[in-house]
């Protein structure tokens, strides 16, 4: 393994580190270095009202450097950083425990595919808005009859000469009721399946767009049903070729899986390690959890958790060394879902009847969150590609097993 000369010398990188550290020290408000509560995430968008002025201050500072999207090119609002510089930036952000300046499907999913598939006008128009958190995007993918079988989608997009006309229904649109624009898969040819899909963008305030939040078993409503009735969309809003959307869709799904797995799923009451929760609710005898059966299962889970974290790190090191690790995305998605479901179930079990509350004063706030986190986690093996679909992908693309012939 030759140590070829990198694009930057280690001296240059060290300089970047000290400059970055100084800048962060000067520009990250104190409040933005404290732990985040449930509602403290900043998603930006036209209607965003900061909960604290520091949120806006921090977002604007980061956006001014292009550091909400550090590796995007500077001409599109990015920071233009090299991978090494970005690693340093992330290190330094972690060091001061800075909150994310901006959460965004535009950053995680839409931006990367637009960089690859968009035309120059589209990139110029949309990417800087994403980087600055001005426009909040949502994803129009699943439909009632097209979940795992995404390519079975039916939302119709007709060419009306000077515009497209869209009719149909999407479901599981995350935060559609709070989003400004949507990136959307539509059917532009009904005679073929995968080859009849296009990737299109439009404003959620367009006439004919309606959203209806879906109440989940956990009690929350982060998703919507979204209805399109004769929605007119300018022709320049098509990304890539007409009927060429499936390739873009798959690429975007890859970014989605990676971002879900790498970030882990939301933990709910998971701020404390399981074993501390268990010690509190189960009790300890001779230094060991009293329920030895549960203890063994918690230990097995923690080992799985650690093995997963080590594997993420291994994949990162491999990627840095130039290896292709795209085959690992489906594996991470499966493992991350399994792990989060196991964790939230173990917490519920460890808390016994204190995790059986739904609301009210009889339980602490953490006790109320535990079963909701468990319920929420059931979706981890469904959203962003079901575990079944991801196991199919591993079997076929990674292991080379074939379908029935």
């Amino acid at each position: 393994m030759a140590d070829g000369p990198g694009p930057q010398t280690s001296k240059e990188l060290e300089e970047f580190r000290s400059e970055t550290r100084a800048w962060l020290e000067a520009n990250c408000p104190a409040l933005m270095r404290t732990p985040m509560g449930e509602d403290d995430a900043v998603w930006g968008g036209r209607d965003w009202k900061p909960k604290h002025p520091e949120q806006k201050q921090w977002l604007d500072a980061m956006a001014s450097k292009g550091w909400t999207v550090p590796t995007w090119p500077t001409e599109y609002g990015g920071g233009g950083l090299s991978p090494q510089e970005n690693t340093i930036l992330q290190d330094e952000l972690r060091r001061i425990k800075a909150r994310p300046a901006l959460m965004s499907f535009g950053i995680w999913m839409f931006g990367p595919v637009l960089l690859e598939y968009g035309n120059e006008a589209q990139k110029k128009k949309y990417l800087p808005q994403i980087a600055r958190g001005e426009i909040r995007w949502c994803q129009g993918y699943s439909e009632p009859g097209a979940g795992s079988d995404l390519a079975g989608l039916q939302t119709k997009c007709e060419d009306k000469g000077d515009h497209y006309l869209i009719n149909g229904q999407k479901v599981w649109t995350s935060y559609a009721n709070e989003a400004d624009w949507i990136f959307c898969l539509v059917r532009t040819d009904t005679k073929v399946k995968h080859e009849g899909i296009s990737f299109i963008l439009f404003d959620m305030t367009s006439p004919g767009v309606e959203t209806r939040p879906i109440k989940l078993i956990s009690g929350a409503s982060p998703f919507c049903e979204t209805f399109f009735t004769d929605v007119k969309v300018p022709k320049e809003n098509l990304v890539g070729k007409l009927n060429g959307g499936w390739e873009i869709a798959k690429r975007l799904l890859m970014y989605e899986r990676t971002s879900i797995s790498a970030g882990g799923f939301g933990g709910g009451a998971g701020a404390l390690p399981i074993e501390e929760i268990a010690k509190h609710y189960v009790g300890v005898e001779d230094g060991k959890l009293e329920d030895r059966d549960l203890r063994a299962r918690i230990a097995a889970h923690k080992m799985y958790d650690k093995a997963f974290a080590l594997t993420v790190r291994r994949a990162q090191e491999m990627a840095k060394a130039g290896d292709n690790v795209s085959h690992m995305a489906s594996m991470f998605k499966v493992a991350a879902a399994t792990m989060n479901q196991e964790k939230t179930e173990l917490i519920v079990e460890a808390m016994g009847n204190r995790a059986l509350g739904w609301s009210g004063d009889g339980f602490t706030k953490g006790e109320i969150l535990a079963p909701r986190a468990m319920l929420r986690a059931k979706g981890n093996s469904i959203e962003g590609g079901t575990t079944e679909v991801n196991l199919n992908v591993v079997a076929k693309r990674v292991l080379g097993l074939r379908d029935h012939q």
């Binding site: 795992s148 204190r354 995790a355 509350g357 079963p371 093996s381 469904i382 079901t386």
Partner: protein, 360 residues
Amino acid sequence: MFTLTEEHDMLRDAARAFVQEKMPTAHLRAVRESKPDGFDRALWKEMSDLGWAGILIPEEHGGAALGYVGMGLVLEECGRTLAPSPLHSTALVGASALILGGTAAQKAEWLPKIAAGEAVVALAIDESAHHAPEKIKLDAKGRALTGEKKYVADGHVADLLIVAARDGGAVTLFLVPARADGVTITPLKTLDSRGAADIAFNGAKAEPLGGPELVDQVLDRARIGLAAEMLGQATQAFETTSEYLKTRTQFGQLIGSFQALQHRAAKMFVELELTRSCVLAALAALDENRNDVAEHASLAKARAGETLHLVSNEMVQMHGGIGMTDAADPGLYLKRARVAEALYGSASYHRDRYAALNNF
């Protein structure tokens, strides 16, 4: 052991017809929205009029004396639709405690009220987050109770409390009217929408009920009856899911035609059949007055817990996104499952107990 009498068959058919018509899952949704008690008192009266509240109660006290197998069949049918009522706490647990341990006067006072659906009874056992009857501390010196009980099923609506407490050495059961002085009931809003209560006792006057062995006898009946309800839940959750596999299409195919799902469904079927045998055998062991009731109770509760856990998770997963919505049924089964799994001892608790009963 597994053969039902004609009376049992009739009872089950009647229960199924009633529950399916009057208490489908939509009924639970209605109760959740509008009944803070966690059940519908008018329907509970109807159930009592059908004789269910008195299934275990001798005829002399107004009951039908149909035994635990009969009780189990009705609980299973109620489990199928998650029908909320005080049937388990009152007609099974409460009635059992009084029949097994009550004096003639206590029986004469309470059993007719139970059989008529006029008294709701709740058993107050656990004092911490976990089921641990061997650790009960509630003090009953001088027949005055002092201490706390946690998550008492139907404790928020009970007329009569049966309380496990320690009078000097061994733990025994005591009767306390729920509205007696020195009893403070804190209702809980629970995951399964049925409600429960934390209860504090501050010198509440109590009447003793039977001896120390009564605690185990009553708890084992509670476990077996709950296992029967859980069997019904798991069976329905499985059948609803099987039907969905036969109607939902993805990739141009019914999802039930995918072999990976077929094998998972087949494995659930095996688990359900095994669990059914355990539950029926445990109910029969009660009616036959056998000496291995404890072992049967732990077997039935542990296996019902494991099977229901599996099936309720698969129900959500196999329903996909729909399964995550509050508007669909899987969430209701999942929530009740987690409550039932924990009540009267988790699978982990009963594995431990089963090992201890087998001397290892």
